[in-house]
């Protein structure tokens, strides 16, 4: 399973989201890779991804995708990530 985290420039904010998404996945006991990307690279990065995590500000920049787009409000809140990832990926 693949999850893409996207920010404007592909480092900094997306790296924080990657770290905390990995912590949330570990809590959920879900095995998935998490890749950070930027707006320019999201289409390629998300071609085989189940989920894209990003900010509400950037949703429109994603364009067409088959992945579920999940908006994260607080990038440091692992609980928020657990709840939203569980809804998207949980069985």
């Amino acid at each position: 399973m693949k999850i893409v985290v996207m920010c404007g420039i592909g480092l900094g904010t997306s790296a924080i989201l990657k770290v905390n998404a990995e912590r949330a996945l570990q809590r959920l006991d879900i095995d998935a890779s998490v890749q950070a990307t930027d707006v320019a690279g999201v289409r390629a990065a998300a071609a085989d991804a189940q989920v894209i995590l990003t900010s509400s500000e950037l949703v429109n920049a994603i364009g067409k995708t088959n992945a579920d787009v999940i908006v994260i409000n607080n990038y440091f809140d692992v609980d928020e990530l657990v709840v939203k990832l569980d809804i998207a990926l949980g069985s």
């Binding site: 920010c7 900094g12 904010t13 989201l17 509400s56 409000n73 440091f76």
Partner: protein, 149 residues
């Protein structure tokens, strides 16, 4: 790996900013003062927000000011600016901003360690309000050194 050194001259307490570009400029000034970047980096941090919006407001009250690595980044650096009056960036959930963390990195790959440490600091939900209420740079530095040991 610990966070980049947070020298006291990279910390500004109670900056006055009329708008978000002024707030980001205060963070850029702190990076310049501490020797991490030149003023050209400040302009690039502002440009990121002009291009992509206020997504850098990544938690309630907190903005992570940063741009890509470049010649205007002299060394990996971190700065912290607290604002005397919170500033609106235009984020639907996390406005207004009272704390800005500025990040300058020389390379995209090796910044992941710093970021994991930053996450460790801020995963404590009390940290942003503690920083916002800080009255001394020494206190701010102590918050960031908590996970170094």
């Amino acid at each position: 790996m610990p966070l980049p050194h947070l020298p006291l001259d990279a910390i500004t307490i109670g900056a006055h900013a009329d708008d978000w570009p002024a707030a980001i400029t205060a963070a850029g000034d702190a990076l310049v003062r501490s020797g991490a970047a030149t003023s050209a980096y400040t302009e690039r941090m502002i440009e990121v927000i002009r291009e992509f919006g206020a997504y850098i407001v990544i938690a309630p009250g907190l903005a992570l000011a940063h741009a890509r690595p470049g010649a205007d980044v002299l060394t990996d650096g971190l700065c912290v600016v607290t604002l005397a009056e919170p500033v609106t960036f235009g984020h639907p959930h996390n406005d207004p901003v009272s704390v800005i963390v500025g990040l300058a990195v020389t390379g995209a790959d090796d910044h992941l360690h710093f970021v994991a440490e930053l996450a460790n600091v801020f995963n404590d939900p009390t940290v942003i309000s503690a920083l916002a209420g800080a009255t001394t740079a020494e206190f701010v530095r102590s918050v960031f050194e908590r996970t170094d040991s």
